[in-house]
């Protein structure tokens, strides 16, 4: 029997554009069309100017690890085989932060400030997720 699958996030209307871009290996975040501020995850309004108008904008898939938590409880069978695994906050060069995982190194080798670049993990036919790998 193969290992349990990891959860596949629902493609909600608010994240449809994000997943569509991800399927093309393009990282996008929301951009306020009134003031230009970038944000992620998707929100109903701009934190800076309260505008409700936004679009999805491509950003460079580079950043650094802002924080890291090494998880020792799976809470979902799909993560049991990887325990312990690291959950990170990546701060993109554009300033936006996102929750993700780092691949290609041990959970406890992930450090704050580590430079990372985006990689892509196909979770299902519909869903590809941005993850991060150490950058030289």
């Amino acid at each position: 029997m193969s290992a349990a699958a990891k959860p596949v996030p629902e493609v909600t209307p608010e994240l449809a554009s994000f997943f569509e871009a991800a399927s093309r290996h393009q990282l996008v975040v929301q951009r306020c069309t009134a003031c230009g501020a970038l944000r992620f995850p998707a929100r109903a309004a701009c934190n800076h100017c309260m505008s409700r108008e936004a679009e999805w904008a491509p950003v460079e898939g580079r950043g650094t690890v802002f924080s890291v938590a090494v998880m020792h409880q799976a809470n979902h069978p799909g993560f049991e085989a990887e325990l312990p695994y690291a959950v990170v906050v990546v701060e993109l060069d554009c300033g936006v932060r996102m929750i993700s995982n780092v691949i290609g190194c041990g959970a406890r080798d992930v450090t704050i400030g580590m430079p990372v670049s985006v990689a892509w993990e196909k979770r299902s036919d519909e869903v590809t997720l941005p993850v991060w790998k150490p950058r030289q």
Partner: protein, 392 residues
């Protein structure tokens, strides 16, 4: 200096604490009923004396909606003049007491029960297993974030604590010393769930990881049970069975933004309201009861009240949190890490016990003024109370 009209206007007159922890055979509403009955008995009041009911529903209340009405019906309360179901997470308890005091001082009601209850733990199943502990009880996923294995508040707080360690040099020992000091207090509190379990710093380091940088003993307990306090006017409280615990000051602070970036709780804002109202400063507290969902929360809250400069919380706890008999008396019943987890009601109840002088083996010798904090979400909401056994 003129006195704030709310300072000392109201008092906590009754405290009801049900058995806590792995207590089965009731649900959240049942525990709420039990807690109110105990609080009425403690105060020497009858059910008919209540004209207000504020309820903070724990997670196991689920989607029942209008929790305060559910509890009113269960208790058979008639003719209430104030009710609300409130949820600021762990900041709710102190916020309910503030809301009650404001309403009483404004003359819109006279005597208010403030209640928290929860029953997230299930009995052990016949097949064995623990029937659900911390992870099972407080599991929740958040769509895209769950896809990365990011579940629940353990992970959220771990990310914030890790930033604090990175920015300020806070160490694993610093976190552990909070757990050890609180366990020393719990060892003197027969009502604490971990009363009989000693904890050394070595034990702490050897305990299993939950979400690094958190070991098991960095994380609060999970408890079934209920806890209620009764708030009334200072004048009425003086006629009742127990010594009044006067509400001297109250404040809230909800900072917004990213807690992993601010590394700051709403205590920085709430104290600006509560301390001047109470006419106290940070040096005036004999007893300090802080919301402790994690060891880290205690450390950061001490910083934000000004017990030490920002970023010095780790070194402060190493120096001043020593358990009974020395240093600063913080979480003197063992707190939510070692006693029981009734959200913000745990620190409230211990402040009442200490100010009344009912602390037994853990009683702090000088117990005039207490500081109480509540904290919800991930440093998302915050409430402060300043309580005293003295009327003014």
């Amino acid at each position: 200096m003129s006195s704030h009209p709310l300072r000392g206007a109201c008092a906590i007159a009754g405290l009801g604490v049900t058995p806590q922890g792995k207590v089965y055979g009731s649900n959240a509403v049942g525990f709420g009923v039990d807690a109110v009955r105990l609080a009425l008995e403690d105060a020497g009041l009858r059910r008919e004396d209540l004209d207000g009911l504020l309820v903070n529903p724990g997670l196991s209340w689920g989607d029942m909606g209008m929790g305060s009405f559910q509890l009113q019906q269960a208790l058979g309360l008639r003719d209430l003049r104030l009710t609300a179901t409130m949820n600021l997470g762990g900041a709710t308890a102190s916020a309910m007491i503030a809301h009650a005091a404001q309403a009483i001082a404004a003359g819109t009601c006279t005597t208010v029960a403030c209640v928290f209850s929860d029953a997230p733990l299930k009995p052990p199943s016949p097949k064995g297993g623990n029937g659900g502990g911390t992870g099972a009880a407080y599991r929740f996923g958040r769509g895209l974030e769950a896809a990365y294995g990011f579940f629940g508040v353990n992970a959220m707080y771990a990310l914030v604590a890790k930033r604090h360690m990175h920015r300020y040099g806070t160490t694993q020992d610093h976190l552990g010393l909070v757990a050890v000091a609180q366990r020393l207090w719990a060892n003197r509190n027969p009502a604490a769930q971990l009363h009989d379990k000693p904890l050394t710093l070595d034990d702490y380091h050897r305990s299993r990881w939950i979400a690094e940088p958190f070991h098991l003993f960095d994380c609060c307990l999970v408890s079934n049970g209920g806890l209620a306090v009764i708030v009334t006017s200072a004048e009425r409280a003086r006629t009742l069975r127990k010594p009044p615990v006067y509400v001297w000051g109250m404040g809230q602070g909800h900072l917004g933004g990213d807690p992993a970036d601010t590394l700051t709780s709403g205590a920085v804002l709430a104290k600006q309201t509560a301390f001047p109202m109470a006419r106290v400063d940070v040096a005036d507290f004999d007893v300090v009861e802080l919301y402790d969902c994690y060891t880290f929360t205690v450390l950061v809250t001490l910083e934000d009240y000004g017990f030490c400069p920002k970023g010095e919380g780790g070194r402060f706890v190493a120096d001043r949190l020593r358990g009974p008999g020395e240093g600063l008396p913080v979480n003197t019943g063992g707190g939510q890490l070692s006693s029981f987890y009734m959200w913000g009601m745990t620190p409230v109840s211990e402040a009442v016990i200490q100010l009344r002088g009912e602390g037994g083996a853990r009683q702090v010798p000088k117990h005039d003024v207490a500081l109480v904090s509540g904290n919800g979400g991930v440093l998302s909401t915050h409430s402060t109370l300043v309580l005293s056994r003295l009327p003014s």
